[in-house]
Amino acid sequence: MQRTIMDFWVGLFVLAGMVSLLILGLKVGNLTSYNTGESYTLFGNFENIGGLKVRAPVKSAGVVVGRVTDIQFSLETYDAVVTMDINSFYRFPKDTFASILTSGLLGEQYIGLSPGGDEEMLEEGDKIMKTNSAMVLEEMIGRFLFDKAAED
């Protein structure tokens, strides 16, 4: 076979491979929503994180605004310290409320941010003061049974 024809086919093959990687990134994966750009870090202390995992989304009004990057247990306050990376495009007031929510009945858990009315905005490294723990089914059932018993 002629050299040029072979070169042509190999070039086509390599190009097709590259294009399919690009398709995987853009169409199948989340490269479009990937913000390689700026982000800032927020912390939040939660009494109970339930099943929250690293890389879980941080949403506000249902829109993904960031991701959970780290979860640690604090020995000073004996609760969970959750580190979140928030896209710099989105700013939240100082009195923003962070709660751990579940998408759907059995879905994965995420952090929901509900903005307050403060004039000042949360900055890099700030701590969200108002947090709401994950709902734990056993505790809810326990409370329900306790209430029932109290009624009787």
Binding site: F13, G17, S20, I23, L24, V28, N30, L31, V54
Partner: protein
């Protein structure tokens, strides 16, 4: 009685030592190929020629298998998921299983049987017909001239083939579930994009296929170079390439998966 047991143990020991000795040969040969691959990068035309035979000619089987694997995944996934009313998650199922596992593994298995066996047979036959010795007589190093370009062609082709396989699979899943069955198109793509992370899923899949490419190409060239120079020897070496590559791919896949996807926290 006592003698027979001793002979049995001796046979086991003999085979074990043989196997380890061969493994050592393969490792030394692998390092030799790496050391002598400068020529294949200086004269890249040699590698391009091999990529044509190893990569371009494997395209058809890779693309067709990818399409059908994706279509079957779509059908089966839909069948199970619609029982729970979550048939829109079929896109996630198809994409994740293809990008993480099936794409790299299936294309590597196909690549080993389509291209790996051809490399082994070619090198083995060159050895049997004493072309390699003739090269040595002319002061042309057969490892640098024949083995290294084939090795690098395999290493370069494998990730590209795996990516093509995954894309065809996703397209096949789309074809069956969205076009034929009628799952909502928006939900199909958006649930897929929500679940598939570029760094975590796609890059890890590509890394996997790079490992498989190195493993398959190294096994193929070693078996070819090591084949006894007879018709029987070459045929045995070709069979061994396919079997060893398949085992190596599956074993490596388990190890890599255990490192990559055992949960982040």
């Amino acid at each position: 009685m006592y003698k027979r047991i001793a002979a049995g143990i001796q046979a086991i020991g003999h085979r074990a030592i043989d196997g380890i000795w061969r493994l050592g040969c393969a490792a030394r040969f692998f390092i030799l190929v790496l050391l002598k691959s400068t020529t294949s990068f200086l004269r890249f035309g040699l590698v391009i020629r091999e990529i044509y035979f190893v990569g371009v000619l494997s395209l058809i089987i890779i693309l067709v298998s990818g399409l059908f694997v994706g279509m079957v995944l779509g059908l089966q996934g839909y069948e199970t998921l619609q029982k729970y009313g979550s048939e829109s998650a079929v896109g996630t199922l198809v994409a994740l299983s293809l990008v993480r596992e099936l794409g790299p593994v299936m294309s590597a298995l196909l690549f080993a049987s389509r291209a790996g066996s051809a490399i082994t047979a070619e090198i083995g036959l060159m050895k049997a017909t004493e072309q390699l010795s003739a090269m040595g007589m002319m002061a042309v190093d057969p490892v640098a001239r024949v083995v290294a370009p084939r090795f690098w062609a395999g290493v370069i082709s494998m990730p590209l083939l795996a990516a093509l396989f995954s894309v065809m699979g996703v397209f096949g899943g789309y074809l069956v579930t969205v076009v034929f069955i009628g799952v909502d198109e928006g939900a199909f793509w958006s649930s897929m994009q929500n679940a598939v992370d570029f760094r975590y899923d796609i890059v890890n899949g590509v890394i996997k296929s790079c490992f498989f490419g190195v493993a398959v190409a190294a096994i193929a060239v070693f078996e070819g170079f090591d084949a006894p120079p007879t018709a029987e020897g070459v045929s045995g070496a070709t069979t061994r390439t396919v079997v060893t590559s398949a085992l190596a791919i599956l074993g490596l896949d388990f190890v890599l998966t255990a490192f990559m996807f055992r949960g982040v926290d």
